[in-house]
Amino acid sequence: MPNDVKVNVHHITRVEGHGNIKVDVKNGELKECKLEIVEAPRFIEAMLKGRPYSEAALITSRICGICSAGHQLASLATSEDVFGIKISEQEKLLRKLLNVGEFFESHVLHIYFLAVPDFVGAKSVLPLVSTHKDVVVQALKLKKLGHYVGDVIAGRLIHSISTNVKAMTKIPTDAILESIIEKLKDAKEELKIGAQVLKKLNLPHFERETEYISLYKPGEYALLEGNLFSSDTGETSYKNYRELTNEYLVDHSTAKRAKHSRESFMVGALARFNNNHEWLSDDAKAFADELGLKAPCYNPYMITVAQFVELVHIADDGIAAAEKLLGMKRELEDRSFPIVAGTGVGAIEVPRGILYHEYTYDDKGIMKKANCVIPTAQNLSNVEDDFRALVPTILDKSKEEITLMLEMLVRAYDPCISCSAHILDVEFV
């Protein structure tokens, strides 16, 4: 058993963006424990200043390729919050479908391409092409489905085109909606096969109870609208997001560290599952049972499983939305509205957790101030607290095994470091 362990991972692989892991154990005591963000800062919030409201979604989507549609949906909700716009039922359903695309692309990429290789002793999905071709083909197909839905609903999934404040500039035909329904039904069958693979994986047993924060709208598995819910303190308005993320302190520190009632909290698929599992679709619940995911679950390695269960729910949700749209008279909406000066907040669930945008516009709709609080920033402290709880329990393992378990833990959170590029130098110790 090594008493001294130094783990130093420069640019952790199979995550979105650049991060380093640093752990230092001396004489069996944890001296240092860090997840460093080393991505080049991009100053997106500064870029937004002086730009018209109509460009906010275009610019913020470029924060991150994998969360692009999520940033767009958050951006639109924020502008609409400023201008007091209530979107139509048709628009809500179209955005729901775009979100189906976002979750499929992101969750499938994470589960199959980034997380799973660790469990089968591979360094990437590539060697699996020869050993598990059917699984790789399935993963490519499911990911493609995400891109397909984004293409037909919004012109493109990554950096969508038709997404605009108040209403989309594109309306799907019956044939497209029918094809989405058919593809989502097929996807559910594919997911059944995927579940059999996932079931056999040996996920590490590690539990640390923490605070779970998600959107909340009783009666539905809240993704695109709702208030905020903390497993510690209950419900509060989405407008109070600064209380939950502690972002108000940002002016006094460059370390935009998120905390609420404790030193850290979790957002994302497992937080959503823990808070809102009763509103999952019946089939998603059945998958959760099958995969041994029970609320409340305190094992962060199970985030990957929670994402898988969400895919089933999202497929069901998408089928229902497409069916509703099929039964409606669909038409391009008038996109004019009165521009007023003001500040607004948008809070939506993206694959990695709650994403907040806050904008202030002048009376011409020109951006005066923008703030984006991304899920990975909210999770960073929690990852680090997990490190601290986990490391002392695995010191009997080799350095390589410890490194792998820490990398796997970081990957389980599916961090999106491109998104966090303005949250540098997070001080953990």
Binding site: E16, P41, R42, F43, S68, T131, G155
Partner: protein, 274 residues
Amino acid sequence: MPNVTPNTAAIEPQKPKVAFFEFADCEGCQLCAIDLTPEQLLDLTAVIDIVEFREAFSEKADGSDSTGGDSHSGYDIAIIEGSITRDSDAERLKKIRAAAKIVIALGACAHIGGINALKNCQTKKEYTEEVYPTDPNKYETTTAKALDEIIKVDGFIPGCPIDTGEFIRVVKNIVLGKNPDIPTYPVCVECKKKENVCAYEKGMICLGPITRAGCGARCPSNGGYCFGCRGLIPEPNVNAQEDIMQKYNLSFEGMKDKFKLFLQRSKEVFPDAE
């Protein structure tokens, strides 16, 4: 699933080895590059071996373990996403250039500076104080640049994001020593073929007349307008664009403002940019 080890014996030595790297970016172009059908994946891996791709693989081109950052050997072609926004990144980039026979700029950020260069329209003091008000100088940053402002670039795949089909075509052509086959005519040509109503007729400012085609006029075809993400066509007639603006009673200043989104590094439209 049983444990497996990478089957390195399957790698054929004659195929060029390709490594992906990224700088200031959103990684969206790399996602598009792997948004492949199984057929496309086989098509691509028939001509190249991907030996490093941090976002998706833990394998390293130089055979090191996965914990050491960029490799500086073991690849023939470097495909690079992102703009250069730090002096330290310019040094990283030069090392990759020295190790690769061919360097390809992937997407608008690498090709033309892209959205990252929008910050160049403000002073460094303005944008750093906006995001880090209490300690604006804490993080290294400088003017956002395209790759070819720092190193020699052998080819590019334009767009924000790139088009997956074009990515495969350009990579295959470069590997086979052929012309990459990227259009030099403007987006308007493709837009007219699609019989779209002109964005100017809808009251929008559109950069289609001077922007490189190849995207199938994707934005105007989906209710949007062209904002120039594929870069300017060779020898763009910016004055003609000004005439269009006059015809539709739109201000030239309004158009210059649209240029800032993706074209800040283009000397044709911002000759005085640092």
